[in-house]
Amino acid sequence: MINKIMTADEAVAGVQDGMTIMVGGFLATGSPEILMDALVRKGVKHLTVIANDGGLDIGQYGARTARGVGKLLENHMVDHIIASHLGVNPKLNEQFAEGTLKYTLVPQGTLAEKIRAANYGLGGVITPTGVGTPMEFEKDELGRDKITMEIDGVKYLVERPLKADYAFIRASVCDKFGNFMCAKATKNFNYVMAGAADKVIVATEELVEIGSGDPDKFTVAGVLVDGIVEGEKKWQI
């Protein structure tokens, strides 16, 4: 059987300048910190990042270091961020003002569905969210016009799939095949992103043997996972 267990540095070795990556987490709760640290060590640049938000800057919510996507922003590794909320980490607006970072805003539910569409092989999703707002009139993340359609008298936006080269995910418990679960409110985008990228890397707090527990507790199928890295730690407040 293929060994999916690797170090964080091995897991990010294939990430090249200019690639598109997805990062799980919501304001850094459920973000894969050891993979972000490895990307910083690798020093890759000009990334497009798909995430809910820009993570946290040092000092925010008691963070002793930047967290989640905040680590990439702190090191000026991101050229374009595709997210639903950009108001928390101040590095974002600093870099927008400097002109070094571009952003595309996507409503949170639509962002999840665009990623899910890529994961599940759909041509897009049809949603009422954003009709009559800049989401309808502004271009999408790749500069394309939005498509609208009317079904039974109701207007919708057609939102295209959103795929990445890499998805970086955090699990609470993962087995050595890649079956995993995320505790409590750390699920957020971690479950949605698994499968929506060419390479899916899971960083886990706890790594267990195959068959050592109840298979029903693993929500996400290991067949979607390409790499497993052990060593995530609970955030110490």
Binding site: L92, V131, G132, T133, Y191, Q236, I237
Partner: protein, 218 residues
């Protein structure tokens, strides 16, 4: 000002019904949760990933895996269920959230809402607001009637919209208003204000309910 916000939050809490699934926005709307009568059992939805939000933990008792959508550590009820973002917003768009309470920068007389961006100012983003106001069965705007005297309730919004024709009710320190096909109808007036003062503070022509009642306070 604190008194005014509490008045709005207390009045808004009276709109919630037993058994409802409710999403409260950040800021004043969050205060609404503290004033729900004891005999009304609602379930609070936190769009980052669960239904069954309870309260704020004691210092040192935080669970680092449980935050609300504002990033604060929170506690949950025994009936909590956690889910991923796709499920969370499926619950929202699917009409399973009975009520969402949000603030606003502008509301138009046809129910258009603007509450997420001021062009040229700091970029924040809509987060889950666009999905919530489209998907929730009832959208209540809980806000101060004006922004330091500037009108927020208008004939038409001038800021980019969050959604079209989505607002059902507006609750301010002055009045309780319903959005109808004909415009904004005042159904309760606070005794501190006259009809003329409320109209003066509003950027569109108000309709006065033939059954106008005093603002419900405890």
């Amino acid at each position: 000002m604190a008194d005014i916000k509490e008045r709005i939050a207390r009045r808004t809490a009276k709109e919630l019904r037993d058994g409802e699934l409710v999403n409260l926005g950040i800021g004043l709307p969050t205060m609404v949760g503290s004033f729900v009568p004891e005999d009304i059992i609602i379930t609070l939805h936190s769009e980052n990933g669960f239904a069954g939000l309870d309260s704020v933990p004691e210092p040192g008792e935080e669970d680092v895996d449980i935050i609300n959508s504002g990033g604060q550590y929170v506690t949950v009820l025994p009936r909590v269920n956690y889910f991923d973002t796709a499920t969370s917003f499926g619950i929202v768009r699917g009409g399973h959230v009975d009520v969402t309470v949000l603030g606003a920068m502008q509301v138009a007389e046809n129910g258009d809402l603007a509450n997420w961006i001021i062009p040229g100012k700091k970029v924040a983003g809509m987060g889950g607001a666009m999905d919530l106001v489209v998907g929730a069965r009832e959208v209540i705007i809980a806000m101060t009637h004006t922004q330091k005297g500037n009108h927020k309730i208008l004939k038409e919004c001038t800021l980019p919209l969050t959604a079209e024709k989505c607002v059902d009710m507006i609750i301010t320190e002055m009045a309780v208003m319903k959005v109808t096909d004909k415009g904004i109808e005042v159904i309760e007036l606070h005794p501190d204000f006259t009809k003329e003062e409320v109209q003066e503070a509003t950027g569109c022509e108000l309709i006065w309910s033939p059954d106008l009642k005093p603002y419900q306070e405890d």
